[in-house]
C-alpha cells in the first residue's frame, strides 16, 4: 500500500527504521497526486524536482526529517510563488521564508507544494480562488470548505501527509470538518505570523491540518513559539503539546454553550453532536451547559474588525513593486484602479469596500470602535465560561459540506458557515476540529473543542481521547483508493 495513507507518526517510525526512504515517500505522494488531483485540484503549485532533491538529502534524525508537508498558498516560501489564489499576485516570487517555513525546514520537513484557498483567505468554500475551485474528496460536487480548502482536501484525499493552513474565522477548522480531518487553530500569538500574508492581523493564526490529533500536536510543536520578527507573538518558547496526549479526561468538565443549539443547525450535525457529547460523558467527562450571551453578535463584529484590517492589509497590492500590474494605463490613478479591479475577485473587493467604509471618518465610532467593544464582551463571555469548564465543545460547522455554487450568490449565507468558529478568533482562543461522524450520504461532520488561551494541551488531550475511542478518523474517501 502507498505510503501516502500514513500519518506523520507512522512514517517517523518507518523512516527511522529505514523501512522507507524519504524519496520513496515523496514519490508515492507524487503518484497519488497525479492520480487524484485532476479531480480534487487541491494544489496550486507543485515542484516535484525540488521535493525529490530535498528528500534525497533529508536528515531523518530530525523531528520531521523526510516528512513531506503541504503549505497553503499564502505563506511565504523563498524562491516560490505565493499567489494567495489571487490574480494580483501572479508572477510574484517570494524572496524570503516565513518563520514557520524556516522551522519546518529546520525540523527536516520536505515542502511539497502550495495548496488552493479562497483568495486572500476570504471565504468558506475555496470557491473564491482565481485558479479554480477545489472539490471535496468525499463528494466531488461539494466544496471542501475554506479558506484552507486546498490543505484540508489534500490531507483528506491523502495527497499530503499533513498541511499548514491559516485560520482567521474558522479557515482551518471548518474545512477540516468538511473534509473529515483534524484542524487546529492555535491561540493568537502562539505561532509567528511572519511570512503569513495578512488578511486580518488581529485574528490570523497559522495551524496544522492533519490526519490525527497526535500529528497536529507534533506539527504545532515545530511551528510554535517566540519569534522576534512578530511583535504579537508570545515571548516564550512553546511547551510540549504532545505531553498530555493519552491522559484520560475523566473528571474534566466540558461546557456546551446553549446559544449554539438554537436554530439553523443541520439535523444530522446536531444528532452527531449529541452522540459525541454522550461519548465524552462515557469517557468520564462532565458535560455542562454554559452561556456565551454575545454569540449572536460575533458574525457582525467579525465582519467589521476583519474587513477593516483587511482594507489596510490589502492596500499594498497595487502592482507597483510586485505582482500583476494592469497593462496600458496612462496615469497613476488608472494604474491603481485597473490593477486592483482586474486583480481582485468579487469577495475581496466586497470586503475591502466594507472595511474602508467602516473606518471612514464619521463611521469609525459607530462601526469599527463599537465592534472592538463588542469583541471585548465576547472575550469576557469566554473568560466567564472557562471558570466553570476546562474546554467547550460545539459543532465545528452548522452544516456538512454544501454543494459548489450553492452559497456563492448569497454572501450572508456563506458567512453563516463560520458561525461556530468566528468567536474563537475574536477572543484569541485555541480550538481543534476532529471528525465526529458522517451524514447518511457520507459527508464528514466535525466536533470543535475550544480551550482557553494557551491551553492547546487541553484541547489536544480531549481531541485525542475522543479520536482514540472512536474510528471516524480511520475512514477514507472512496475516491481512487487503492
Amino acid at each position: 500500500m502507498s505510503f501516502a495513507f500514513s500519518t506523520i507518526q507512522e512514517l517517523r517510525k518507518q523512516l527511522l527504521a529505514k523501512e522507507v526512504h524519504p524519496k520513496e515517500l515523496v514519490e508515492s505522494l507524487l503518484d497519488r497526486i497525479s492520480s487524484v488531483d485532476s479531480r480534487i485540484k487541491a494544489y496550486n503549485y507543485l515542484h516535484p524536482e525540488r521535493a525529490l532533491e530535498a528528500a534525497e538529502k533529508a536528515d531523518v534524525s530530525l523531528p520531521l526529517g523526510g516528512v513531506p508537508i503541504a503549505v497553503k498558498d499564502l505563506i511565504s516560501v523563498r524562491g516560490e510563488p505565493c499567489t494567495c489564489s489571487s490574480r494580483l499576485l501572479e508572477g510574484y516570487i517570494a524572496p524570503y521564508d516565513a518563520t514557520v517555513i524556516e522551522r519546518l525546514r529546520g525540523a527536516g520537513a520536505i515542502l511539497l507544494g502550495r495548496t488552493n484557498m479562497d483568495e486572500f483567505a476570504m471565504g468558506s468554500s475555496t470557491e473564491n480562488s482565481a485558479w479554480g475551485v477545489t472539490r471535496n474528496p468525499w463528494d466531488l460536487s461539494r466544496v471542501p470548505g475554506g479558506s484552507s480548502g486546498g490543505s484540508a482536501a489534500a490531507v483528506a484525499a491523502h495527497e499530503a501527509i499533513a498541511a499548514l493552513g491559516s485560520d482567521t474565522g474558522g479557515s482551518i477548522r471548518q474545512p477540516a470538518a468538511f473534509c473529515g480531518c483534524v484542524g487546529l487553530k492555535p491561540t493568537y500569538g502562539r505561532v509567528s505570523r511572519y511570512g503569513l500574508t495578512a488578511f486580518a492581523s488581529s485574528l490570523d493564526q497559522i495551524g496544522p491540518l492533519t490526519k490525527t490529533v497526535a500529528d497536529a500536536a507534533l506539527l504545532l510543536e515545530i511551528i510554535a513559539g517566540e519569534d522576534s520578527r512578530d511583535n504579537t507573538c508570545e515571548p516564550e518558547p512553546a511547551p510540549s503539546f504532545s505531553a498530555k496526549l493519552g491522559e484520560e479526561i475523566r473528571g474534566m468538565t466540558l461546557g456546551v454553550p446553549k446559544e449554539y443549539f438554537v436554530s439553523g443547525i443541520d439535523p444530522e450535525v446536531e444528532a452527531a453532536m449529541q452522540k459525541a457529547i454522550a461519548h465524552l460523558e462515557g469517557l468520564g467527562a462532565t458535560l455542562r451547559e454554559i452561556s456565551l450571551p454575545h454569540t449572536s453578535y460575533s458574525i457582525a463584529t467579525y465582519y467589521l474588525v476583519a474587513t477593516a484590517e483587511a482594507s489596510a492589509n490589502l492596500a499594498r497590492f497595487d502592482g507597483m513593486r510586485y505582482g500583476r500590474r494592469a497593462p496600458g494605463c496612462d496615469d497613476l490613478l488608472e494604474t491603481y484602479g485597473r490593477t486592483r479591479d482586474e486583480g481582485f475577485g468579487r469577495e475581496v473587493k466586497r470586503r475591502i469596500l466594507l472595511g474602508t467604509y467602516s473606518l471612514s471618518s464619521g463611521y469609525y465610532d459607530a462601526y469599527y470602535l463599537r465592534a472592538q467593544k463588542v469583541r471585548m464582551r465576547i472575550r469576557e463571555d469566554f473568560l466567564t465560561a472557562f471558570r466553570d469548564c476546562q474546554a467547550i465543545v460545539t459543532p465545528t460547522s452548522p452544516m456538512p459540506a454544501f454543494r459548489l455554487g450553492e452559497r456563492t450568490e448569497d454572501p450572508l449565507q456563506m458567512y453563516l458557515a463560520d458561525i461556530f468558529t468566528i468567536a474563537v478568533n475574536l477572543a484569541g482562543l485555541c480550538a481543534i476540529s476532529v471528525p465526529c461522524g458522517f451524514t447518511q450520504s457520507g459527508l464528514p461532520i466535525g466536533l470543535q473543542i475550544i480551550g482557553p488561551m494557551w491551553k492547546e494541551e487541553t484541547v489536544l488531550q480531549v481531541g485525542y481521547a475522543y479520536e482514540q475511542s472512536t474510528n471516524w478518523h480511520t475512514r477514507r474517501p472512496s475516491l481512487g483508493q487503492g
Partner: protein, 484 residues
C-alpha cells in the same frame, strides 16, 4: 486695519539610529538606491514590523528635553493613503496616543536671524508651546525621470519624529528662531544630526491672518515640505503678505494645501479642502502598545543632557563669559566641552574663551586636518598670555605651532625665544636708543603729533624681534619724551 499672522509648525526630524524603525535595514543617507531594503520595508506579503527601541527612546528623550509629558502607554496607528513611495499604502504613525504630549520651547535672542536680533520680538523671550511629539516611518523617495519615475526605498521605514507646535507664532522670524532652537536641542540630545542638506529636518507650516486684537482664527492654509530654516522664513513672509493682501482687499482665504517653490519665491496650490484625505486611522494590529514606564523611560532619562539654555547660563556664571561667547560655545557642544576642560588648567578663563573662540577656531577652520591640541595646553597658553609672558602676536604664533605638533606651550615659547621682555631696565635702553635714532619723530611728538610715538614703538619692537611688552614700551617712551 492692521493684521497679524497666526502660525503653527509641524517639524519632521529624521532620527539618528543604526537601523530603520521597523526592520533591521541600515538607516543611512546616500547609499546606492534600493540597497537598504528588505521584505518589511518593501511591504512584501507577510512581512511584519517590529519597533526599534532606540527610536522610541530618542523620541521620549526629545519629549523630556522639551518639557513634554511622556505617556505611560502609547500606540502605533495606520494612516491610509495610496502613494507609490509608500510600500504598504499605509504609513505607520501615531494618531491619538503619541509618545509625548505638550511641552514647550523658549526662543533665545540669538536664535533669531541676525537682522532681527535687536527687534522687540527677539527680546521678548517667548515660549512656544508644543501640542505633541510622535514617531512614524518615513516614506521612500521618488525621482522623476524623462519618461518614467523611479523610487528609492532606502528611506522607506526610517524613523521620523514629528514635533507639532501650538499656533503660538506670529512672525517668520519667530518660526526661524523656533527651528534654530529645536535644531540645537536635538543635537544636544544626539537625537538627530539635523542636517538640512540631507533632508533631516523638514517642516510643514500652517498660517492664517486676523486683525490685530481679535481672537478668532482666520482660515488657514498649509505649506508642505519646506526643507530649510531660511526657506520657512521666506515662504512664511510671502504667504503672510499674500493673505493680508487678499483679506484687506475684501477677498477671502480658501483652505488649501500649498507647495513652496523656493527658486521662484512663490507658493503653488496642491489640493483644496474638498480634496482632503480621509486617512482612516486605526490602531495597527501588528504592533503592541508601547509601555514607556520602566526601561525605556529610564534609559531616556539617563541620556538627558544639560540643555543649551542651562549651559549658556552656567558658562556666563562660572567663567564670566558674555552672553554671546556663551551662546557660541553652547551652539557647539564638543567645543564647549573642550573649553571647560581647558578652563580647568588656567587661572584666566575669559582670555581663554577669547583664545578658543577667535584664534583656535580660526586656525582649526584653516586646517581642519590638524592634530587636536590637548585642552590643558590651551589653558596654559591662556596663562602665559594673561600673565604677560607672551603678547597676543606671540600667543598666536605658539598656538599655530601647538596645533601642528602638540607640546607644552612653555617649551615652544622657549625654543622659539618667544618670551615677552617686560623688564623696564632692558626696555628703557631700547627706548633711549629709539629716541636718539629718530629725531624727526621725537620732534613731531613734541610738536603735538601724539601718533608719532608709534614709529618709536615700531623701532623698539623691531630691535627686540617683537618680544617687547607693547604696553610697557608705550609707558616708558611717553615718560622719556616728557622728560624735560
Amino acid at each position: 486695519m492692521t493684521y497679524e499672522a497666526v502660525i503653527g509648525l509641524e517639524v519632521h526630524v529624521q532620527l539618528k539610529t543604526e537601523t530603520k524603525l521597523f526592520c533591521g535595514c541600515r538607516n543611512e543617507f546616500g547609499a546606492e538606491p534600493n540597497s537598504h531594503v528588505c521584505p518589511v520595508c518593501l511591504g512584501l506579503p507577510g512581512a511584519l514590523p517590529v519597533p526599534n527601541e532606540e527610536a522610541v527612546i530618542k523620541t521620549i528623550l526629545t519629549g523630556l528635553m522639551m518639557g513634554s509629558s511622556i505617556r505611560a502607554r502609547a500606540k502605533f496607528d495606520r494612516k491610509n493613503y495610496f502613494y507609490p513611495d509608500m510600500p504598504k499604502n499605509y504609513q505607520i504613525s501615531q494618531y491619538d496616543q503619541p509618545l509625548c504630549l505638550e511641552g514647550g520651547v523658549n526662543l533665545p535672542v540669538l536664535a533669531f536671524p541676525k537682522d532681527a536680533q535687536k527687534e522687540e520680538q527677539a527680546l521678548a523671550g517667548k515660549r512656544v508651546r508644543l501640542v505633541r511629539i510622535h514617531l512614524e516611518e518615513d516614506v521612500g523617495k521618488s525621482f522623476h525621470l524623462e519618461n518614467c519615475s523611479g523610487i528609492d526605498f532606502n528611506r522607506a521605514g526610517t524613523p521620523l519624529m514629528e514635533i507639532v507646535t501650538e499656533a503660538d507664532l506670529t512672525t517668520p522670524e519667530e518660526a526661524f528662531a523656533l527651528l534654530t532652537t529645536i535644531r540645537e536641542i536635538l543635537r544636544y540630545g544626539k537625537v538627530s544630526d539635523v542636517d538640512m542638506e540631507k533632508g533631516q529636518l523638514r517642516c510643514d507650516v500652517n498660517i492664517s491672518v486676523r486683525p490685530v486684537g481679535t481672537e478668532a482664527f482666520g482660515t488657514k492654509r498649509e505649506i508642505k515640505n519646506l526643507n530649510s530654516i531660511s526657506a520657512v522664513r521666506r515662504a512664511l513672509k510671502h504667504e503672510i503678505q499674500t493673505q493680508i493682501h487678499l483679506v484687506s482687499s475684501g477677498g477671502t482665504v480658501v483652505q488649501q494645501t500649498l507647495r513652496w517653490d523656493d527658486a521662484r519665491g512663490e507658493t503653488i496650490p496642491m489640493r483644496t479642502k474638498e480634496q482632503a484625505h480621509d486617512y482612516r486611522y486605526f490602531p495597527d494590529p501588528d504592533l503592541l502598545p508601547i509601555r514607556t514606564e520602566g526601561r525605556l523611560r529610564t534609559e531616556a532619562e539617563r541620556r538627558m543632557p544639560e540643555l543649551p539654555e542651562t549651559k549658556k547660563g552656567r558658562l556666563c556664571q562660572t567663567y564670566g563669559l558674555s552672553e554671546y561667547q556663551a551662546s557660541v560655545l553652547a551652539s557647539d557642544p564638543p567645543l564647549a566641552e573642550y573649553f571647560e576642560e581647558a578652563a580647568r588648567s588656567t587661572r584666566h578663563p575669559l582670555p581663554l574663551a577669547n583664545l578658543v573662540l577667535n584664534d583656535y577656531l580660526a586656525l582649526r577652520q584653516e586646517d581642519p586636518g590638524q592634530v587636536p591640541v590637548p585642552a590643558e595646553y590651551l589653558g596654559e597658553l591662556a596663562d602665559l598670555q594673561s600673565e604677560g609672558t607672551l603678547n597676543s602676536r606671540q600667543t598666536r604664533e605658539v598656538l599655530a605651532i601647538l596645533i601642528q605638533t602638540p607640546r607644552p606651550p612653555k617649551e615652544i615659547a622657549k625654543e622659539r625665544g618667544l618670551t615677552q621682555i617686560s623688564d623696564s631696565q632692558v626696555l628703557e635702553a631700547f627706548c633711549r636708543e629709539a629716541i636718539s635714532a629718530n629725531p624727526k619723530s621725537v620732534a613731531d611728538f613734541k610738536g603735538g603729533k601724539s601718533a608719532a610715538i608709534n614709529a618709536l614703538k615700531g623701532f623698539v619692537m623691531k630691535k627686540t624681534r617683537g618680544q617687547a611688552n607693547p604696553q610697557r614700551i608705550h609707558e616708558l617712551l611717553e615718560s622719556l619724551l616728557r622728560e624735560p
